[in-house]
Symmetry: D2
Subunit: 166 residues, 4 copies
């Protein structure tokens, strides 16, 4: 039985899950690392992992965002963490913020892949896990150690950091 | 000017900050890694770092805990993260929970040092950062992806995991 | 005084020294990691480090190879390690093999950057260090744990591995 | 068919293979990492891996060394790499140097476990791989980027580095 406090983790891709392909020199998505990450950090919260897609968020279409919205609205859990590319994370957060009611949803990603050295992935994921458990229903982004409301956040492309609008 | 939302990070030692000394084969504390950790993860929350001590928590005395209590009570910040060894983290949390009022205090540590491979340190630190920002005043522990109230937590020494009392 | 056994390390770039730039998502060369690598591995052989260039070897010109050849011919050391991109490593080795006499020269690189997880960089560098000390004058490549003579090696682009011609 | 150039790798333990046990805070040997290491570095030399024991070399007995000697003498390969703790590596090298004839044997270890950050393990292993292929029959130690003859090496316990006797 999944209780109220189970966290659903929706995997959509993004830098957090990218790997270096030595044959092509490109960053690719051979598989998600989320299961390994949660195992490494000894996470004992109940969660279900669902890999919806593995995409660079610049290549997400409206249809992809609609799928994420549907999943958030219809899944049985009230606490949802979404791993997502940083480039259009704010756009997805806005769609969800406008439409998802009565659930706590936290979007999170990374600037450096988990698979590389000196990554921010595990810290960011930790931020998302506490936020999704501690916060009232609503849609949030956790990046750079901060918690942002979906309608008061942007990615500063020059610094690569997330910041409040006001 | 330090605003209300600055986080004070009190460093007390614990496994999170241990290193392997190749000459003796022992785990030691040559220095704290917190500054490097927060730099690596691109943390943009305002914080002040204070190294109070670097101790294995089994070697903490009552006097050490009193110092931590005084610091929490008298510092100007209302949001405090304490890095701490896991073995007596619950004991320190109880002293603080009983005495610190009107502030949000989160104790956190790691089972594997940050400096080793496959550590839980960055994830746990992320959990602490979100918790200290999102939670109401009170004293908490974040370990294993969970948030515990100071008076409802124990370390299970057989599994090495933190769990609720009830 | 530099004795006969000092190793000159010529840095030319290649994947071994690449880093991930989180702002652009590209692999770049902000600086060489060779000094950090040799420090990490506690190398006590006498060496001099010289950063000639930091290039993807696909972008090396004939002029770059001529510079490397001149440096090998004219430096005072008889043992030379060259860090180099893998894509045209064989081409540079052939130029050197044809022209450098009386010195032991070993070219080496990596398929995964040192700065990423699970890299082959340190192992390959170790192979180069032993090879340059143990081998007779000549020009060699060390990759995949093997030692190749300059005129009997190719990079198999499908497998990403170096192999003998015959 | 194993040809002349197959390398036999004898695993005996030592720091290179140690892991941190989060429950006890001790360094232990749950398993050898050699297979993972050789996979990570894309080693394409033919080799056979044999785990003889997993011991801190301070706990090796004369009988253990006799077993290693027998294995070196009787195995079909002429090129042998032995992973070994650094504290008594010189002692084992002396026994082998005195008795093993017609084979190239290289002992190697690490000051920092492979499983920890900033380890010298992969570099040292690379040194051993080139040395065992390039050197004439004899017994050697590769540590700190250097190649030592079995009868001209000691571990300096103050610096943790290997050095020539003369």
């Amino acid at each position: 039985m999944k209780g109220d406090d189970t966290i659903r983790i929706l995997i959509t891709g993004g830098t957090i899950d990218k790997e270096y392909d030595p044959l092509t020199g490109e960053l690719t998505f051979p598989k998600s690392h989320l299961s390994n990450m949660l195992n490494q950090v000894r996470c004992k919260v109940r969660f279900v992992l669902e890999e919806m897609m593995l995409k660079d968020s610049l290549e997400m279409k409206d249809g992809d965002r609609e799928e994420i919205l549907k999943k958030c609205a219809h899944c049985s859990e009230n606490r949802i963490v979404i791993t997502h590319g940083t480039d259009t994370m704010v756009e997805t957060a806005r769609l969800l913020g406008d439409k998802v009611k009565g659930k706590t949803v936290v979007l999170v990603g990374a600037m450096i892949p988990y698979a590389f050295g000196a990554s921010d992935a595990l810290f960011n994921l930790g931020c998302a896990f506490s936020a999704v458990q501690a916060l009232q229903p609503g849609v949030y982004i956790t990046m750079n150690g901060k918690i942002f409301l979906w309608n008061n956040v942007r990615k500063n492309r020059e610094s690569g950091e997330f910041e409040e609008l006001t």
